[in-house]
Amino acid sequence: MIPPRDITLLVNGREYSVQVEPRKTLADTIREDCGLTGTHLGCEHGVCGACTILIDGSPVRSCLLFAVQCQGTAIETVEGLATDGVLHPLQEAFWEHHGLQCGFCTPGFLMLAKGALDEDPSLTRDELREVLSSNLCRCTGYQNILIAVEAAAARMRP
């Protein structure tokens, strides 16, 4: 076994000093070592997108990264989405438009949509469908997820 390493991760603006084996995924590290269990694992191998987080603003699948790769990056998880208890427009819109049922896929969709809309808040409905097609939801049939993301996009436009 390769010995654990001491690393520091910057998650939601806070530094976490953790000791991890080099093969430990970022998803497991965030959940177990940082105690941020809002990032979920649905498939553990890069298909479902439930583990989507932002690294330096871009959506990535945290089950496909090692924690040791992520030193020096800015990591954002669903826990950092609301600021001072005020919901992010995406969170508000998902709530209002019933964009979640069991909610297991929700953090992944929120972070995916945030990354995409931060980069380009003018994405059209068809473009949004393509973006959202990278994540799986088993409960909603996606209709309300799309409606929620569109509604949030309208609110996020400058």
Binding site: A82, L100, C102
Partner: protein, 741 residues
Amino acid sequence: MSTRTGRKVGTPQGVVGTSPLRPDGIPKLQGRFEYAQDLAAEGMLWAATVRSPHARARIASIDIAPALAIGGVHACLTADDVPGRATFGLEHPDQPVLAAQEARFWGEPVAVVAAEDLDTARRAAAAIEVGYEPLEALTDPEEANRRDEVFRRMRIRRGDQSVRGAVVVEGEYEVGMQDQAPLGTEAGLAVPDGQGGVDLYATSQYVHVDQEQVVASLGLRPDQVRSHPTGIGGAFGAREDVNLHIHLCMLALHTGRPVKMVYRRSESFTGHVHRHPAWLRYRHEADRDGRLVRVEASVVLDGGAYASTTSAVLANACYFAVGPYTCDSVAVDGVGVRTNNPPCGAMRGFGAVQVCFGYESQMDRLAHALEMDPLTLREINALETGHPLATTGQVIQTPLPTVEVIKSLQAMPLPEAGPSDLPTELPGGSGLTSEPQHVTRGVGYALGIKNLGFSEGSDDYAQARVRITDSGAVVETAAIEVGQGLVTVLAQIARSALGISHVEVAHVDTSKIDSAGSTSASRQTQVSGGATLEAAQRLRERILGQFDGDVLDDEGVWRGDTLVTPWTALAAGDWEETVTFRHPPTTMTDDNGQGVAHADFAVAGHRAVVDVDVELGLVKVLRVDTAQDVGLALNPQSVRGQIEGGILQGVGLAVMEELVMGEGVILNPTFTDYLLPTILDAPEVEALLIEQEGSWGPYGAKGVGEPPTISSTAAVAAAIRAASGREIERVPVRPQDIALP
């Protein structure tokens, strides 16, 4: 006592018929909601499961010594360590907690281990040496039937068996094995209480039945085991059976430490039951006007290695084998066989899905043979209130708007002629493989029917408690919220019945309340909702009686215009009411399958529009529109959510979702290979909710969870048939079924 006057008249917020926001929305959206995966306890160990790599094998030996020699391993348990009943099962306890002499399906648990961390637990599981002697696996359902390896046979005979029709259509149909694939896998935590008992927090649809099974297999007193409702990432039937529950409790009691286990996705595919694959044979006979005069059906379901709910699924498949149609001469024979394939059990639609593909394919064939419009044929034969169910003869007492469903589908506008020039809208999606000139459009219809609640004489009840609190009231229940929105709707019901705005729902453990039954069979809104309604109504009456008031609202009890008891005074009292609700009784049917087997029914219809590239065998499902019998939509937004999600699972079964078996082995137990629909596979949905009074559910509500999944598959198959001209006798429809028939 206050004597303030001047009551503000108005309805409380968030009552039935409105769509208040989910109370669990905020924690779920902030990542604070605790799913079973997220549980942790001081001093917790991690568990892993050793599973049979053979579909059938004799277990000659198990050597746990190499695993115990690994530092940090605290327990390796096998069948010998099960303290109580060696088996479990929802209907018949025939499934070993851990396989003893023989493993009977691929992935069957043989041993469990607990260790300081997950990696160590997995290494220990891999280190256990099991001496398997592979045996010949029985994986062919027909062969199982010949050998009389069966869980149940069903025989239904109704009416004059000699009736013959002028027009006859026959068909054979096949339905593949679908997986519920809830996005959260099985997970749980068991915590020993230090006095020989245990608290279990695990993914479940039915905590009381988990508790009973843990009690039996651990040889404990019922009061020593408490099963707690826990956050769950979807269910769809996959959580009805016990899987890791007994294992976790054994390990926790053995080690004296809290023990956690989370199934990986590949393990989840073997760790829960699946939708039964089905083989159907049909013969429909009609007169020249299209009236069904005779239906014969044969239904074979592969139950896999253990019983699970195969008996009940088979019964449902047979009772609904004719669909929402009248017919006075019916013969149905069904069998649920035992094989060495993975155990099958509950999945949304529970037997009604498989036969719907069969009878609706037949109705289309019949329409074709009669040169009749398919919806007209369905309307001529529509089963409605007052008619006997074609199979059991039970006269339908509650509203069943079958004709209205058909008329609604007829009236829905069709989308513009296609195909679209957007590449993502073409069959095959953005792979750009289809060319618009090779694409043809098809439209297909299907209707489905299903029972609501448990059937065949089962004592189906739910208990709920409504308690007055400082801020309003709380509904206490052991019913499981799987995402469907029960947590919203129970509060709505209590608000309406009490007349107040602030009601919360608390999920309490098995020691604090009696069973709510399973979150399945589309039943909780009706049954737990019924208990909540009655408890709230009684509580209100008692409160008004006590204070001689005539109105209860957020401020307290009013007599005319005077507030005679403010809320603070009410909250200081000990006001609570507990009600056990039972739906109208049902009975087991007789030897001919005749009787009042069901408490209520729901009907729905779907119209699918697809584009098909016949050369490449690719399908794009553009729209699935629906009309659904909902009784009363207590929360229209949640009802539509159930409809949209349920339809997509039906679309999945129609065009992509199948567990592919090879000699009893699941060949595609990952999300890479078991395909789930993404948003680009999801059709647009227009849903018409048909409301009618008269069901026994609260305010006339019917269960709505399953109907969307029942006929959507058959409608998509019909549309593919219309577009491609192929017979389409199997779902999921694979490219080769279209391109290389």
